[in-house]
């Protein structure tokens, strides 16, 4: 899944490296607002969670499989800035410790998956959340839509990079068609899993879901009339 060494030429790799470094630097500032001094341990654990989630393969068709990228999922759960940091660190660990994704392609991978994946996933999620009814149950479908769009968006940006600095003479249309079909299939899987995971977390701990905060703030504390203390509960016992 990750771009290896030598796939894009050296100038393009260096260029995306600069873009990635700037993006991560901006995210470092933003994440402090989302998590204050808890940033390091919290983002570390969320990065570990994303890494574990990426280990889950799902069949895409034709005997191949894709796996969760997690950009939109992390953005909805912990906020976009922290998500950029988490995905970047996951990619850094995979490149340095697991040889997954080339070290010179690290900037490309961070740009595609951490910057484009999270930004598109988050912005589409915010747009969908604004359109859908202001209820807690709208958060999961909005997250799924964000995930669905984020994967092909990263694929399109990759195709553009490949057109600029690709090292194989393949027609732009061919690459675009192949990447889009392939990543639409992965995007569907990503959308379903992201939606289901966000739904299960909002059902149990809606306070942890960053993307649900505007909806939660609208909910008013309800005090329901209960039975007086000491009277037997008619529903209890059997």
């Amino acid at each position: 899944m990750h771009v290896p060494d030598g796939f894009l030429d050296a100038p393009t790799s260096l260029g995306t490296g600069v873009v990635a470094a700037v993006g991560v630097a901006v995210a470092l500032r933003g994440a402090r607002k989302e998590l204050d001094d808890r940033t390091a341990p919290m983002a570390g654990l969320v990065a570990t969670f994303v890494f574990a989630g990426q280990m889950m393969n799902f069949p895409v068709g034709a005997g191949t499989s894709g796996h969760l990228l997690g950009g939109a999922l992390a953005a909805v759960l912990v906020g976009p800035w922290t998500a950029v940091l988490c995905i970047s660190v996951v990619l850094l660990v995979q490149a340095l410790f697991m040889a997954d994704g080339g070290i010179t392609a690290l900037g490309t991978n961070v740009t595609l998956m951490a910057l484009v994946g999270v930004a598109v996933g988050w912005l589409v999620f915010v747009g969908a959340r604004a359109v859908l009814p202001k209820r807690l149950s709208s958060i999961a479908p909005a997250a799924a839509i964000g995930a669905l769009v984020s994967v092909p968006a990263a694929a399109v940006v990759f195709t553009l990079l490949f057109a600029v600095g690709g090292t194989a003479p393949i027609a732009f249309g061919t690459v675009l068609a192949a990447m889009l079909t392939w990543h639409l299939a992965i995007g569907v899987g990503e959308a379903v899993i992201t939606g289901l995971v966000v739904a299960s977390v909002t059902a149990v701990r809606p306070d942890l879901v960053y993307g649900a905060r505007p909806v939660l703030e609208r909910r008013e504390l309800e005090i329901r009339a209960g039975r007086p203390v000491g009277t037997p509960n008619p529903e209890a016992g059997a």
């Binding site: 290896p4 060494d5 940033t39 799902f58 080339g102 194989a168 299960s200």
Partner: protein, 238 residues
């Protein structure tokens, strides 16, 4: 504490390659791979030279070649793509083994394979000869932002904890007749992932509190120090 044991790729040893300072190894890896990526793919003898340099480093490190060869399987999906390139690339065609392939495509496939393989082998050599804490200290010396190094440190420290937790969940799912890969059982998988996120997040909160109670001020002590020596402000974990 996860600092006592090496990660899955590390191969314990005391060779000069193991003892070399981590920051130099990282710089050497990046410089080497940038050179490889920037080398025109028609310079065949130069690539033989690169391979000879790498093999000499591996030989000096005492890491068995079989150990690295087994871990080079991460490259397989990419090799399949590279093998496809001669068939989908445009340009003049040539006959190879009775198949009609594109000539520039063949050259591109060679370039992709050679550079990608060198990248995987070089990254694996770094991972096999360098302890994770040494890589973190090296990145810090290379002026990687402190927060990124901290997040990475927490990710590496809890990687085995969280992936083992996911592993136990998957064993639980399978023993109840669920196949986590099958889309039919995605709802169950997604609830497991949701639970894993909540557990990871809450673990992060506990780690943060444990760190505060040990005097965390936003800066971690030197990670290269052995974790079991008695120092003030030592970080704790769960």
């Amino acid at each position: 504490m996860g600092a006592g044991h090496g990660h899955r790729l590390h191969y314990h040893g005391h060779s000069p390659v193991h003892r070399a300072p981590a920051h130099l190894k990282i710089v050497a890896l990046v410089a080497f791979m940038l050179t490889v990526v920037a080398t025109p793919r028609e310079w065949y003898p130069v690539f033989a030279g690169y391979l000879a340099i790498l093999l000499a480093v591996v030989a000096a490190s005492g890491v068995p070649f079989g150990y690295l060869a087994k871990r080079m399987v991460v490259e397989v999906p990419f090799v399949l793509f590279a093998l496809l390139v001669p068939f989908i690339a445009h340009g003049p065609t040539a006959e190879v083994l009775g198949l009609t392939v594109s000539e520039p495509g063949l050259l591109a496939a060679w370039g992709l394979l050679a550079k990608g393989t060198l990248g995987v082998l070089a990254s694996l050599t770094l991972a096999a000869t360098t302890e994770p804490v040494a890589i973190l200290a090296g990145l810090r010396r290379l002026r990687m932002p402190d927060l990124v190094v901290q997040i990475m440190g927490f990710m590496i420290r809890y990687l085995d904890v969280v992936t083992a937790e996911l592993g136990r969940m998957l064993v639980g799912m399978r023993s109840r007749g669920c196949d986590p890969r099958s889309p039919r059982h995605w709802p169950a998988l997604a609830r497991s992932l949701g639970a894993l996120f909540i557990r990871s997040y809450e673990r992060g909160e506990r780690v943060h509190l444990a760190m505060l109670s040990r005097g965390y001020t936003g800066v971690l002590p030197d990670l290269a120090q052995p974790a079991h020596t008695h120092q003030p402000h030592q970080q704790g974990g769960h």
